[in-house]
Amino acid sequence: MEVATTTEISSQIRRDIIRMVTDVQSGHPGGSLGCTDFFTVLFFEIMNIDPTNFTIDGIGEDLFFLSNGHISPVYYSTLAHKGYFDKSELATFRKINSRLQGHPSPAKGLPGIRVATGSLGQGLSVAIGAALAKKLNGDENIVYSLHGDGELQEGQVWEAAMYAAGNKVDNIIATVDYNHKQIDGDIDDVLPMGDLAQKWEAFGWQVLEMDGHDHAAIKNTLQKAKSMCGNGKPVVIIMTTIMGKGVDFMMHTHKWHGSAPSEEQAEQALSQLEETLGDY
């Protein structure tokens, strides 16, 4: 069987995102579409993971934490296509008795999820804690995390950033989804954050930047980030993305941060996204 390319996988994940949020008329399509390329490359080309033998402890494998838990649709679709659970379960997203909660949680036992996120700003601390556990266990695998740019307005993120640099936690690669948008509008209108790269550098992190839609660039940058691990400093990647990427009317606006398209809009969106691996 021919292995799907990351481009094909991304297209299917984007279809899944649109179908999931449309079905329940809720959820967060904008950031999900914007981070689809990152999720695809990270899970299918970078991370050392064992989807069929999922354990919370994840000893001997890489770990991933989604700090901006509201983009759960892209996370769930990626996990399903990677084999953590059957893709048919995506149809239960945000419905009663589902393991696919609105925001990710291990409470219902969904494989792939190790901690609850959604209330913003907490994931970096958890990821650093897991990285410390890996060091204590002599486990040389890496901890990855993803954060929204607006999420960096939460003070806890900077407590965690200060801790990791001050304590040489050098087995973590955090990525910031820099789409310049949050629910109420452009970041510069809500709360300007200045030069993000300089801020992380000032906190003692090694900073990389990448285009979050160029699969080759994502792969190269993540590999470079891996090569920078183990030298006494944590790594952050500032990833430029377009919220709503892949659906023309959803791009370049914060409108689709947390609202679902109508059936008609969904049809229009799906017509722009090729069904490559089969809809759930």
Binding site: G58, A116, G118, Q122, L124, S125, G129, A130, A133, L136
Partner: protein
């Protein structure tokens, strides 16, 4: 009072925590400890000195500490966090709620300087709401031991219990009277004195106050049953109901706000199972202030005399 209680010495419960943690350092290789710049106050120095690789100084950043602790469980560690009760609960409620309780992580939140007996630092630091905040969280176990020996035993016991725990203790030196060899059973209330006229249910520092009150009551011809509720959640309803079946009235005593505390839990239990007169000795909807611990207990009416008075009131209501 049928039993006498001998004071072995006067010790702070936080030192019981420190001693328990030190033992865990030797016996439990997966136990790790985190502290937010209060290592001396929390008596965590011995663990730190003996296990530098398993001790994490996080600085004055309690939110991050709770997240780090949640993350450390992923990989099998058993993290014990240490700071004052105020900064262990109210300051980091959402971090505990999402990253620890909802995520059901095996974190032990160890909180010193709880209640009024923190003393001179005043109301900013004297949290009286922490038991309520923690007992409301699903998955959370809430433990409030009464003296040094019991705090040490509780610290050791929670390491072998899987799940989030809130362990509350205090600053002042108080009578140390429980059996140092007693095994700590999470969730099991302990009848300290069998009586028949009233059930006094106490937790934390107020357990010794209840014993003192019991001596005074006996001189007044009242024979109290005294129960030490060191585990507020899960609450030992059975022991309490059996006692109330006999005594027909209850007084609770705690160094905590009346709203949300042990008295609340007892009131629920009685209302559901055995409606009975109840008086609560607790702080009544007010903040504390600076002063010596004993002065504050007297001023805010959570002292021995207040337990005696509450017993006399509740017996009239039978």
């Amino acid at each position: 009072m049928n039993k006498t209680f001998e004071i072995q010495d006067y010790k702070d419960t936080r030192s019981g925590f420190g001693a328990g943690l030190q033992e865990l350092g030797k016996s439990h290789p997966n136990v790790v400890a985190l502290c937010a710049d209060l290592t001396g106050s929390l008596k965590m120095n011995a663990f730190q000195d003996e296990n530098p690789d398993r001790f994490f100084q996080v600085g004055i950043a309690e939110a991050n500490m709770m997240g780090l602790a949640a993350g450390l469980t992923i990989g099998g560690k058993i993290p014990f966090t240490g700071t004052f009760a105020n900064f262990s609960t109210g300051r980091v409620y959402d971090q505990i709620r999402q990253s620890i309780a909802y995520s059901n992580k095996n974190v032990k939140i160890c909180a010193s300087h709880a209640g009024l007996t923190l003393g001179e630092d005043g109301a900013t630091h004297q949290i009286l709401e922490d038991i309520g905040l923690m007992k409301m969280l699903p998955n959370m176990t809430v433990i409030s031991p009464c003296d040094y020996n019991e705090t040490k035993a509780a610290t050791i016991a929670i390491a072998d219990y899987e799940g989030p725990v809130y362990l509350r203790f205090g600053r002042p030196k108080v009578p140390n009277f429980t059996d140092p060899n007693k095994k700590f059973e999470i969730g099991k209330a302990e009848i300290l004195n069998e009586g028949k006229d009233v059930t006094i249910i106490a937790t934390g520092h107020m357990v010794w106050k209840a014993i003192e009150a019991g001596k005074e009551l006996l001189e007044k011809g009242i024979n109290p049953e005294i129960i030490n509720v060191h585990t507020i959640k899960p609450f030992d309803e059975k022991t309490v109901i059996e006692s109330v079946n006999k005594t027909k009235c209850v007084v609770t005593a705690e160094e905590h706000m009346m709203n949300g505390g042990l008295g609340d839990t007892v009131a629920q239990t009685l209302a559901k199972n055995h409606p009975s007169p109840l008086e609560m000795v607790a702080v009544n909807d007010t903040f504390g202030e600076s002063g010596k611990g004993e002065e504050l207990l007297a001023k805010y009416h959570i002292d021995t005399a207040d337990i005696v008075a509450a017993v006399q009131r509740v017996i009239q209501r039978k």
